[in-house]
């Protein structure tokens, strides 16, 4: 029906199109149109993503410093790469990043899947509550991360007050951002608060994709709810959970804005994730060549890990 009513409308509207435009575009073959449609995107990406990347690769072999453009450039070979890979500070930054990525992904996946499982029970008003839960992920990590420094204030902050209220410790007895043991967890808490809803949304999509008849068949076979969860729900939602882990893993490996405003990498370098090390080297010490090499190493790492992971994901999907 849709097709039929569309036809007469189409004939009518075709008559309205200006002949000049028609002639100009009718001359294009599908192939030409394909390139006309795709080229602008490719050109933009080449200019603003790929060209700078190639430039970064080039700079990573030189001793260039962006704040001294007039100093003649010297070819360094792979010196920067060697010094970065043997630098204990870099390895400690990588450990901080690994701790951050691992715990945020674990907490967000467990909480996010749990919430999605509960919301999928379709209780009354679940739409409104889902929207409320989604709000933190819509907000700016920088602006909201900055506000968390206020919530974490030892004397006047709400977070410390609430924790103190429930645990009986004085609110000023601990500093989430100033204590070397607590600060790595302070950034994990904020990230989990912001991004659990994101994992929840993807898991919810996974749960909704499981057709009812599978559960009906399981009921007929008298499988227990517990058994149904482990043999139907979890395996069928697994590709979606893995997708969520991939997205969060990549994002948190690159994490900069929230941590930069919350702790700036401190105290000391206990929360100095890789991006903050990179920013300090590139825009505070202005070691452009060195930081370019580090940037390339980071990019290759994310790219390599993501590729391996996507292969595993595809294997799970095709099962």
């Amino acid at each position: 029906m849709n097709d039929l009513s569309a036809t007469s409308q189409i004939a009518y509207q075709a008559a309205l199109v200006r002949p000049r435009v028609v002639r100009r575009i009718r001359g294009l073959s599908d192939q030409a149109l394909a390139w006309l449609f795709i080229t602008p995107t490719i050109v933009l990406l080449l200019a603003i993503n790929i060209f700078p990347l190639i430039w970064t690769i080039y700079l990573s072999f030189t001793n260039y410093r962006a704040n001294r453009p007039n100093v003649p450039m010297r070819w360094m070979g792979s010196d920067w790469y060697q010094s970065i890979l043997t630098d204990p500070d870099i390895w400690s930054a990588m450990q901080v990043t690994a701790h951050f990525v691992f715990w945020t992904v674990v907490i967000e996946t467990v909480l996010g899947f749990g919430l999605a499982f509960l919301i999928d029970k379709k209780f009354r008003g679940h739409g409104i509550w889902t929207t409320i839960i989604l709000l933190p992920m819509m907000l700016s990590p920088a602006v909201v991360g900055n506000f968390w420094t206020f919530l974490y204030q030892p004397q006047i902050g709400l977070f410390n007050y609430v924790v103190g209220f429930f645990t009986g410790n004085a609110a000023s007895s601990f500093q989430m951002l100033g204590d070397v043991r607590l600060s790595p967890w302070a950034i994990v808490i904020v990230d989990a608060w912001m991004w659990t809803p994101y994992v929840m949304l993807i898991c919810l999509a996974g749960l909704r994709s499981i057709p009812d008849y599978i559960y009906e068949a399981a009921e007929v076979d008298r499988a227990s709810k517990w058994r149904q969860f482990w043999s139907i729900t979890l395996p069928m939602a697994l590709p979606f959970i893995m997708l969520a882990v991939l997205f969060r893993g990549i994002e948190n490996f690159k994490m900069f804005d929230m941590v930069n405003l919350l702790t700036g990498g401190g105290p000391g370098s206990t929360t100095e994730v890789a991006s903050i090390t990179l920013k300090r080297a590139a825009f505070e010490s202005w070691r452009t060549g060195y930081s370019s090499a580090f940037a390339i190493i980071l990019f290759v790492t994310v790219f390599g890990l993501a590729n391996i992971y996507v292969k595993a994901l595809n294997r799970v999907k095709s099962r």
């Binding site: 569309a6 189409i10 149109l33 989604l134 405003l261």
Partner: protein
């Protein structure tokens, strides 16, 4: 006994109530920081930093006034020589022995955010729709490689790309300009837009266009008049995600802009009053900054689920 078709798999009333209360508990806890931001924005500076934290307080607009004005401290004698206060904010300032010296930078930064976020969203969605259609319908050499290339540009840490972009923009005069930021955000968003929209356009049956072309439409007309109207949901979903990114972006903004083109996210955290951060003003700036995106989310929430899974979930 009800005889609903799905009764075997429907959760019982008790299960539902239990699930509902757990979700509500989580929702309430997760809302506390947001509610606290809004409450703080209406506190006076003394109330904001009181111990224990105040839930009930005398509301004040001082935070919002401090956000949009700059003030200078004066002696009480000098203030007495002035006429009556000019407007609400001047009145609040005079109670603290200050006079309003002029507008702050918040409004220009906010306007920059609006221009850059909306322009880059429109551009990214337009380019993304064209490319997605091209990839979806035509034989493109090395299609899979190109698509993967487009996606991989999103895996780069922003700081890594910021170094050469900083150098490049400095060389061609785009540093600290709105145009430079619009192009940059468009390029970051366009990869997402292509992937999202390709999923949506793949689902539109080719028969629609073919019927239109038999009726005398060119391919381009068929695209504009048949495919685009069908892809509205996908375009809306893509636009939300692009807008959220461009509105909230911080890393590029803080490294590549300083004055002219600076957006609100790098500005809000550096609002300081006398003796440290002026928390009510920061909270006021944050609240105003969050309002557009919260409204947007609530209005368009139905599209989010499809957008987030690259169109993998069908309605």
């Amino acid at each position: 006994m009800s005889i609903a078709a799905h009764s075997v798999v429907e959760p019982t009333a008790g299960t539902r109530r239990f699930a509902g209360s757990l979700v509500m508990l989580y929702a309430v806890i997760t809302m506390i920081p947001l509610v606290w931001i809004v409450l703080t924005s209406f506190k006076s500076p003394d109330d904001a930093i009181s111990y224990p934290p105040k839930v009930v307080f005398q509301p004040s607009l001082e935070g919002y006034c401090n956000l949009v004005t700059t003030r200078s401290r004066q002696t009480p004698d000098f203030i007495q020589t002035l006429g009556p206060p000019q407007g609400l904010c001047d009145g609040i300032a005079r109670d603290r022995n200050m006079v309003v010296a002029g507008p702050s930078n918040y409004v220009p930064r906010f306007i920059n955010s609006l221009i850059i976020a909306f322009a880059s969203t429109v551009l990214a969605v337009a380019l993304g729709t064209l490319s997605a259609y091209g990839f979806s319908r035509f034989r493109v050499p090395l299609k899979d490689d190109l698509l993967f290339f487009i996606l991989s540009t999103r895996m780069m840490p922003p700081i890594a790309v910021a170094i050469p972009i900083y150098l490049m923009y400095r060389a061609i005069g785009l540093s600290d300009t709105r145009l430079g930021m619009i192009l940059l955000y468009t390029s970051v968003n366009v990869s997402l837009a292509v992937w999202l929209l390709k999923g949506f356009i793949d689902e539109i049956p080719r028969e629609y266009e073919e019927a239109a072309m038999i009726d005398g439409y060119t391919r381009f007309q068929a695209f504009v008049r048949v495919v685009l109207p069908q892809a509205t949901t996908g375009i809306a979903a893509t636009a939300i995600f692009c807008l959220i990114f461009a509105w909230n972006e911080y890393a590029f903004a803080v490294l590549l802009t300083s004055g002219n083109a600076q957006t609100a996210p790098p500005f809000i955290p550096i609002i300081i009053g006398e003796g440290g951060q002026d928390w009510p003003a920061v909270a006021a700036g944050t609240t105003l900054f969050l309002v557009p995106i919260v409204v947007f989310t609530v209005l368009l929430r139905r599209h989010l689920l499809r957008g987030i899974t690259f169109g993998a979930v069908r309605k």
